[in-house]
Amino acid sequence: MSIWRWLARHWVMGLALLVLGYLFLPIAVVAALSVNRPAHRLSYDFHEFTFDNWRNPCATSEMCEAVLRSVQIGFVATVVATTLGTLMAFALARHRFRGRSGLNVLIFLPMAAPELVMGTSLLALFVAGGVPLGFWAIVVAHVMFCLSFVVVTVKARLAGMDRRLEEAAMDLYASEWQTFRRITLPLVLPGIVAAALLAFSLSFDDFIITNFNSGTTVTFPMYVWGAAQRGIPPQVNVIGTAMFLIALLLVLTSTLRGRRLRNP
């Protein structure tokens, strides 16, 4: 086969791999900077290899407090958003009720609205209502924008489910509760877990909405934002790399498990 024929067949894939390279370039830089001893505080260039940043990631205690706070906020927001969103998804997928189209708009809009508008409008509401900004204001905001994503994710899982399995359980004299507990819930659970992971990552990484409602509370993205002016400590790149690795591990194990379940 001539080289031109080979190129004609594979150029799209080649281009795609180049784009993927572009997507991974900053990740490689973050990983490299996480094992870098910077020449001085405002330098973002690779200077000298070291594992020091990984050995004590909490050298800047402010940063670790911010990471911890982000994890706490993400956890609470995820639990609330996943619970409320799953209930809504069940209602939408399984029941007929009035006002469905209006509700669909209410669920769709937070995913389409600019984050800036959601952040500023919540700030306007909190200030007008005398609600203190800070930890709980951030949680309220995060639940709000995670909720729609949970509903969409769980609803998709419910829509793809075989209803005949539940009918079979009912035919075998399982009560409604037993059917839900033994059939429906295990089948929907992967969707709920996916939704929870999505909600946590959205919450953990949010900057714009948090920035408007945080008051003096500092989350990890807010810490990075503030530190960017003064020069960020290399440990920020350790957190960035660690986040990447943890998430990648989660996704890969779930993909592999899914594959094993499908072809045992």
Partner: protein, 301 residues
């Protein structure tokens, strides 16, 4: 329950019939907490934002605001900050063009050419988003820095002058926007292209269309819903973004988000910030509904 006591039951077990009385209320009970949350913390704040945008522009946060129905806040805000508004749409638009040029081949290759590597490549599209948005953007600062290899290479091939730079220019901001929102464009496009009926492509080839004609007349029109969904998911956050402009640009590259941020958090000029926010919302909605009308709302929602 007692209302159903007279119903015949099979071998002592209650028959699996729906109990309409409870079930009619059930969906509303399931929906209530979530819908209330969205109403209280998404819809209601928008009303408050609209109210705040009409406050007396001469008041401050410390003196308290009075409602004067100051519709003049809108033209005043637009007049003061139209360059930033224009820049938001210009930068997001340029980034969109770049993202389409990169995202379409990527989505197409994953959907149609990847075979058993499909899932792995999909994970690769999403994986860069696992790292914090701000950390990724700061990495671009390193890549585009004046003594980095990208600038060095461009200087060597004379695409940049000897003291030309990328960081702190519009190019850096557009590149950052392209990078940060590219996956949002690729994923819906992929979802659409994956369902592409390959028999139509074969039919086109059988009718003597060449590869380009097949793409232009068959693949592209069929992928339009995915293309429009991806465009929206890219364009809405890109116009509202101000992280890239702040970290990769200078005040000369500030977008409308930078202005709104400082109006609310630095200058504490709530009426102006609220007016600008709503103008952004209106402009975004105009784009969304324009796109939805072209695509047909059904396929997107």
């Amino acid at each position: 329950m007692s209302a159903f006591a007279h119903l015949p039951s099979v071998s002592g077990q209650p028959p699996p019939v729906a109990r309409p009385g409870r079930h009619r209320l059930l969906p509303y009970l399931l929906l209530l907490p979530g819908a209330a949350w969205l109403f209280l913390f998404f819809a209601l704040p928008l009303v408050q934002l609209a109210t705040a945008s009409l406050y007396d522009p001469n008041d401050t946060l410390s003196t308290g605001y009075t409602m004067t129905w100051a519709f003049g806040n809108y033209p005043a805000a637009l007049q003061a900050y139209w360059p930033q508004f224009g820049r938001s749409f210009l930068y997001a638009g340029s980034a969109l063009v770049l993202a389409l040029l990169m995202g379409y081949p990527l989505a197409y290759a994953i959907a149609c050419k990847a075979g058993r590597w499909k899932n792995l490549l999909l994970v690769c599209v999403v994986a860069p988003m696992f790292t914090s948005f701000l950390v990724r953007t700061l990495a671009w600062k390193t890549i585009l820095s004046d003594n980095g290899w990208v600038v060095g290479l461009l200087r060597d091939v004379h695409l940049l002058g000897p003291d030309g730079r990328l960081l702190a220019t519009p190019v850096a901001v557009v590149l950052g926007l392209t990078y940060n929102f590219l996956p949002f464009l690729v994923l819906p496009l992929y979802a659409n292209l994956e369902r592409l009926d390959h028999r139509l492509l074969e039919a086109s080839r059988d009718l003597y269309a060449n590869a380009w004609q097949t793409f232009r007349r068959v693949t592209l029109p069929l992928s339009m819903p995915g293309l429009i969904a991806g465009t929206l998911l890219f364009f809405i956050p890109a116009t509202g973004d101000y992280i890239n402009a702040e970290l990769l640009g200078t005040p000369n590259e500030y977008m409308i988000g930078n202005v709104i941020d400082s109006a609310f958090l630095v200058r504490l000029d709530y009426p102006q910030g609220a007016a600008l926010s709503l103008l952004l919302m209106a402009a975004t909605l105009a784009v969304v509904f324009g796109c939805l009308r072209r695509a047909g709302a059904e396929e997107l929602l």
